[in-house]
Assembly symmetry: C2
Homo-oligomer: 339 residues x 2
């Protein structure tokens, strides 16, 4: 015998009992309330009704497990994007670090503008050249392992200016519940974000339970090199793919290759993926917009956000498309997940 | 109560018993022999030893489930690539169809060369322009749904010129066993192929049990359009990413975001991903090369293949790198999986 059968069977029994207990406890939890941080109301009902109908065997609206794809924008949907997207805060901190040790970097006009908080100058350059220069400085030239380490170090130490906690301790509790509820209901949950895939993959599994291969984001090409120390992948700025607006359905197709049936977003950058998931989809579908209506507990914005997150067109389309609009102020009992 | 608890619990019990039975039967099958289509020998042992050690809890070489990533080249590794890669056969058949109904297509010199079997002319154009023209004709301009339908129709009717069966009935039985064995051992199995991702995703789940999101291949950008009929994605030839040679580790990083610990390939196009998976990997790793040594039952080639599949450099590197070289003639009892 190649493999000891008795030992393997014992392991299998233990695994199976563990799975059984998990499933039963999950069942109990749902039976009580799958979304305890949500106030009762239209939004909560829309989500629960959708999951119930697509998972009810025998129902005409049942969707087989392999087609249960749910996609979630990240900034503004799973965690805040104020006072700036967290990856931008990373870029600022890294640029400050680089400028302190390299006079050439410090002398760069775009670096000067960024560190002076002069975003107008930074954004004035045509074709986002100012922003791309900063991203190039902080997101390319190193190996993917070096980049991962830098992001990890930053995430462990940097703090949000208003809430004074680590950035990864600011995920939305109601959305963590949605992620868990969907996964327990047989969905594969994907992040589909304008943020950098390499940036998000450092912490996506730990923070959201979403493995690297289920993170769709903006990318640039990496270059393979076989060094004396072993193979490395060097980050470049070539072939930038921006996973935003019409790029989101394209990114979903490229990385997932299936049409989602549930789409969660919060801004006009999510409009096209909301359309892609919900219009003329032969399967039942759910579109949800998280509306930032709570200036007291989080931020209040839509037409004129301070940084990113403009929500005008998608909000206008919502009634016609049947998208559920979530008011953070009214629909969410708590905002942030406990660390 | 939102969800009926008793009913859910009953469903959970049924699911769990099913899982239990599956696990036990899988356990029994492995105990007997996880790779029955393989002759006993070095190659088979190398594969089983690797899986055993990385899945043995408590062993210093144990690898947690979330890091069990196995990648498989497709053409020449999971099915043949002769007399030409099957996707090329698709392109030829589609071109013939297009030429029959469109004189402008028929007059195209590259189309003429292709349909005359004059591959020398086709390949002589600089920067693969001839080939790209054919791919452009047959792989762009339509929506991804239209393309999927065309590939599906073709796969259901086209037959392999030598074996006279459908192309998707020519997968290698020993490799189907490897895929099943790895998945049953907690691995996520990915295709990483120079072939088009959109082409492979049409049948990857049905043929290999590999869902679309676990297919890494060559891609071009798709364009999102909201038409009256609903949202569509139109295939273009822009931003071609060729998932071959050094592109394979890059593709693995972009799509999977994790380093594989098991890599199966058959040609020099797989050399870089074999290196990436196995050199200086902090985890135990396995590199396998399928060597086409059986002209009688399949094809015999390495230095001078008729179409693709040159195997020179990777074979030279194999002993130094500790890669396992599989001789199809000696190591495989059967070649093709039963339809």
């Amino acid at each position: 015998m190649i493999i000891d059968f008795a030992e393997r069977r014992q392991t299998l029994w233990v695994q199976c009992i563990a799975i059984l207990l998990l499933l039963i406890s999950a069942g109990c939890a749902w039976a009580a309330d799958p979304l305890p941080a949500w106030n009762d109301g239209k939004a909560k009902s829309a989500i629960i009704d959708f999951v119930t109908k697509v998972t009810t065997a025998g129902s005409p609206e049942f969707v087989p497990v392999e087609e249960r794809i749910a996609v979630f924008d990240n900034d503004g949907t799973l965690w805040p994007e104020n006072p700036m997207p967290f990856q931008m805060a990373y870029a600022v901190d890294q640029t400050r670090k680089l400028a302190a040790s390299d006079p050439a970097v410090a002398a760069n006009p775009m670096v000067k503008a960024l560190l002076a908080g002069d975003f107008a100058t930074l954004m004035a350059a045509p074709h986002h050249q100012g922003l791309l220069e900063i991203i190039g400085l902080t997101h390319s030239g190193m190996t993917v392992d070096e980049f991962r380490q830098q992001v990890d170090d930053w995430m462990k130490t940097a703090k949000h200016p208003r809430f004074d906690v680590r950035y990864d301790q600011l995920t939305y509790q109601p959305m963590q519940e949605v992620l868990a509820y969907f996964r327990a209901s047989g969905f594969k949950t994907y992040i589909v974000s304008g943020g950098g895939a390499d940036f998000m993959r450092v912490w996506s599994e730990r923070v959201y339970g979403i493995p690297p291969g289920q993170v769709v984001g903006s990318t640039t090409r990496v270059e393979y090199e076989l060094r004396d120390s072993g193979p490395v992948l060097v980050k470049t700025m070539d072939n930038l793919f921006v996973d935003d607006k019409a790029g989101k359905p394209a990114g979903i197709h490229a990385f997932i290759g299936q049409r989602p049936i549930a789409v969660f977003g919060n801004s006009d950058g999510d409009k096209e993926m909301l359309e892609y998931g919900t219009i003329a989809n032969p399967r039942p579908s759910l579109g949800v917009i998280i509306h930032h209506t709570d200036g007291e507990r989080e931020y209040k914005y839509d037409v004129n956000p301070k940084s990113s997150g403009t929500l005008v067109e998608a909000l206008k389309e919502a009634p016609e498309r049947g998208w559920t609009v979530v008011s953070m102020k009214d629909d969410w009992k708590t905002i942030f997940a406990a660390p």
